[in-house]
Amino acid sequence: MSNATSAGDYRATKSYLHHEPHSIRAWLLTTDHKRIAWLFIASITFFFVIGGLAATLIRLELITPVGDLLTAEGYNRTFSLHGIVMVWFFLVPAIPATLGNFLLPIMIGARDLAFPRLNLLSWYVYILGALFTVFAVVAGGVDTGWTFYTPLSSMFANGNVVAAIIGVFVVGFSSILTGINFIATVHTMRAPGLTWFRLPLFVWAIYATALIMVLATPVLAITLLMVALERLFQIGIFNPALGGDPLLFQHLFWFYSHPAVYIMILPGMGVVSEIITCFARKRIFGYRFMAYSLLAIAFIGFLVWGHHMFVSGQTTYASLAFGLLSFLVAIPSAVKVFNWTATLYKGRIHFDGAMLYALGFVALFTIGGLTGLFLASVALDVQVHDTYFVVAHFHYIMVGGMVMAYLGGLHFWWPKISGRLFSEFWAKVSAITIFVGFNLTFFPQFIMGYLGMPRRYHTYTPEFTSYHVISSLGALLLAAGYLLPLLNLGWSMFWGKRSGSNPWHATGLEWQAHSPPPPLNFESVPEVTEPPYNYDARDPFDGSRPQ
């Protein structure tokens, strides 16, 4: 690979963080993908805190079987807030809009995304929609859960359902815009020599995610609009009293929301592939299979939505078909887990903080994926559907998996983003704390789920108390774990040691750019001459950091 970091005036160019102008106005009107990434990092952190506070309230309430902290209405609003905020305002944009935004152009040797202004618009659409929703939910309350099932949401629920729906609808457009931007960028702006099969897996993952965003989100938008229409004008679409069909809503909703699960997890898979290869100092095992499995997941993911409806009254044969497809979608995920493991084989493994996050991801994702098989198996799903088993399952994927990957990625690319190193010690402590706290919180939920504890229960029967207590204690540890990276990275932003452009001795174009990169990323367009993850050809890297 050509190396572009030596030229004198390139070094003299100020980084994207420091170049003029850096007034607040300049930041808010920037079209630099790196600054927009920061806008997103700040926003999703804010929403993560809100969603997290709601989760804390939920876990505190559930320490005892009776309702002692919140009223029934308060509880229902709290879990609705938690779900809506975490799914749409944190998880969906989390990796694509932050790390994806920051890294995608640099990883393919481009100066920005294909449509920089569209990128900024995407943030505005997101932040306005999200703030509006949160305001609506906090001010008037929404107690339908994040799933907005009809006819509860369309005819019976009180509160600002329509406002919340409009907010989510608006935020959906942010996803669509980001998706279009990423697809165009990957197709048209790759550096010379960077063929599709030389792309880092992170780029493949973001690309697959963008496809889902563009294809699935419009269906959600239409569905939510129909709920609003029914609520406002009594047009019978979903409510049987008006001649509508309540199951139609579920079909449409899950047609988006199952693929949305993959919007949330695919980018995480991309991040972890980068981290594991780097700290194992080895090419990823089965590169092509890894790339194809991302596409396979994105594709089959569109055909499994009915597994949310096994007990809804859907026909037996539909349930069986969806069950079979849900087993099949697990195959590409299994392929990924085995390939990550095989990548470690005969590697030269370093246990940096980012790596611990990535290893934690693989373990938690494996558990989350395997328990998904129980849900795909129709007869078992009858028992565990709408219980804490499901709650545990998707938190293993979305929190255990996705949040681990996000934090891992944030640590891994932090030197690139900020130009600084953080405390390795505290990074490791946080990874371990989160891993332990997470398992303590969610593992007991599998057990109580199988025993029959339904989800979304404000009060519960006493036989489940001990599981809930353990879960709530775990949540405390988990919350503490989440604070650590905030402090550690926040501290390093100002006082951390300078990292130099490639502290982990990683391959990939992003590590050739300066840290933090100048506004246009590269001095000259880099040229790619070797396959990705060519670690075997590199120095063994003994782990010493630049001083």
Partner: protein, 317 residues
């Protein structure tokens, strides 16, 4: 600890004919998946320790064919998954099997926030369901408002009650005892209070229990009365002046509609005929029947439907 709690905790966790089969599948999958999870973890730990940086060890990859392992870990999981799918599917088909003729038919109506049950003899109960042991039971579910879900963990059954249609779940309780009944689908404010219990009793106790209940006409008899008081017979009686179909023996009959379709008169069809009469108009008749959607409660409706189901040639209204 109160009595109910004690009764629940003394009752077995698997209490229906299907329960142990479901558990068998569950534990089989748990074992296989447990091994996979353990295998991955052990392999990861082993590689991490053996190949940690700084350790002197042979790191030359001797694998010739790098695709072979990929095919193995696509193929083997595929086979295992297919096996589990078939196992789960056959079990599920048993859930869906038509219940035998002599099954006890109970109507369950979900309503924010309670469960109402109607026994064939007309006995009603709220948030409690008494059933005999070892006898197939079918619960036909409907809802008066939003979606609810009938969930008895000890029987391993769950079925949504959806407004506007009938769904059903069948089970055979195998152990006397007291079991939790939950609403599993979020249904608004007091969702978590929408719970109760199922009392499984011996056939004899069940019969005795039925007798202790307030004497009320059977569902079908109550339906017959409604058929008259609500004015149905005014049009549908054989000697009526209005040209309307004769409803004797209607249940299960093939009906020909004005738009050329033909279908079998099942419960869903009968329900729609009463609530949405303009949807399926019978061939040879004028669409003059008014909709009864605003005039019948869910309970009255199911009584009329119970009546129509055993309304045959013998009875004259």
């Amino acid at each position: 600890m109160n009595e109910l709690q004690q009764a629940v905790e003394q009752s077995p966790f698997a209490a229906s004919e299907l329960a142990s089969d479901v558990d068998l599948l569950f534990y089989a999958m748990l074992t296989v998946c447990g091994f996979v999870a353990l295998g991955v973890t052990v392999a990861m730990l082993d590689f991490c320790i053996r190949y940690r940086s700084g350790k002197q060890v042979d790191r030359t990859l001797r694998l010739r064919n790098l695709r072979l392992p990929e095919y193995i870990w696509i193929g083997v999981p595929l086979l295992i998954f297919l096996g589990f799918f078939v196992w789960g599917a056959t079990l599920f088909m048993r859930y869906q099997q038509l219940p035998p003729e002599d099954a006890l038919r109970i109507h369950g109506v979900g309503k924010q926030w309670m469960w109402k049950f109607y026994h064939p003899g007309g006995q009603r109960e709220i948030n409690e369901l008494h059933i005999p042991v070892d006898r197939p039971v079918v619960v036909v579910l409907s809802s008066e408002d939003v979606i609810h879900s009938f969930f008895v963990p000890a029987f391993r059954v769950k079925q949504d009650a959806v407004p506007g249609r009938y769904t059903r779940t069948a089970f055979t309780a195998s152990e006397p005892g007291t079991y939790r009944l939950f609403c599993a689908e979020f249904c608004g404010l007091k969702h978590s209070k929408m719970r109760g219990q199922v009392e499984v009793m011996s056939a004899q106790h069940y019969a005795e229990w039925l007798d202790t209940r307030e004497q009320s006409p059977t569902l079908a008899a109550a339906g017959e009365a409604l058929f008259r008081t609500k004015g149905c017979s005014g049009c549908h009686a054989v000697d009526s002046a209005v040209h309307a179909p004769d409803l004797r023996g209607i249940y299960g009959r093939i009906v020909h509609l004005r738009d050329g379709r033909s279908l079998r008169a099942d419960v869903a069809y009968l329900r729609d005929s009463i609530l949405l009469p303009e949807k399926d108009v019978v061939a040879g008749y004028q669409p003059i029947m008014p909709s009864f959607a605003d005039q019948l409660t869910e309970e009255e409706l199911l009584k009329i439907l119970a009546f129509l189901q055993d309304f045959d040639e013998r009875d004259a209204p």
